[in-house]
Symmetry: C2
Subunit: 117 residues, 2 copies
DNA sequence: CCCGTCACGCAACCATCGGTTGCGCATGGT
DNA sequence: ACCATGCGCAACCGATGGTTGCGTGACGGG
């Protein structure tokens, strides 16, 4: 049950800078490499590279307008990414719950034996 | 609302190989570098390095027993990681819902105007 | 007891990635 | 016409995920 995950999508979202970029793009509606670099502690070129990988996995789309290149989040694709996050989270959560249940059962049996003595 | 995230924990879980290792460790209860490397497409040394970073962020703990070093998942820490995944997921999900709501509202106004003509 | 084997750690090496600086080019405002 | 702005390309750097090769300590059957 390894929760089928698109590794490209996940690792795109795995980078903290890219996550913050997505946050900003979602908050503002859109943005350019320069506008994002002004609000993040990295250079415009670094942002540009990140926008490249986000674009490659379809998490953002770009529209050229004059000398600007405005990027916008692809909501459907981000929704897919969110789904994968919660999918993996849910799988692990389920396993953790089962482990906890078993541990409690064992503790219970020990208690009974202890009380018996 | 950037969903306070421990970048170390996230990036530990961000690697696909490490995710699969955690899956295996959860499924089997524990494991060694060699046992994991037999079930994953990477060498024992790669696994050992990954176990190192997982240990550094507290996602696994190791117990030496003879010539083996058995690793076991720290359930509390993994629970924290899961919480962070769902936290970020929820934040983005909320934004996406708001966008969708606004989009629908606009579409509605357009419909009304269209019907009015 | 001793030798082979098995699990491990250490080190060197390589490709990729996130990040930087420096440059050149085109578009746009005055 | 000119200068500023936004961008892309290239070179470089450190960290990281991965490999191969080797040395070493624990274990078990002759």
């Amino acid at each position: 049950m390894t929760a089928a995950v698109d590794d490209d999508l996940w690792s795109a979202v795995g980078d903290p800078t890219r996550r913050r970029m997505l946050d900003l793009l979602l908050a503002d509606g859109d943005g350019t490499a320069t506008s994002l670099s002004e609000r993040l502690p990295v250079t415009r070129q670094a942002i540009a590279k990140h926008l490249g990988v986000l674009d490659r996995v379809g998490l953002v789309h770009v529209t050229s307008s004059g000398r600007e290149r405005r990027y916008r989040v692809d909501e459907a694709q981000l929704a897919r990414a969110v789904a994968q996050l919660s999918s993996v989270g849910a799988a692990w959560d389920a396993r953790l719950r089962r482990i906890k249940r078993i541990a409690e059962a064992i503790a219970l049996r020990k208690d009974q034996r202890g009380a018996q003595q």
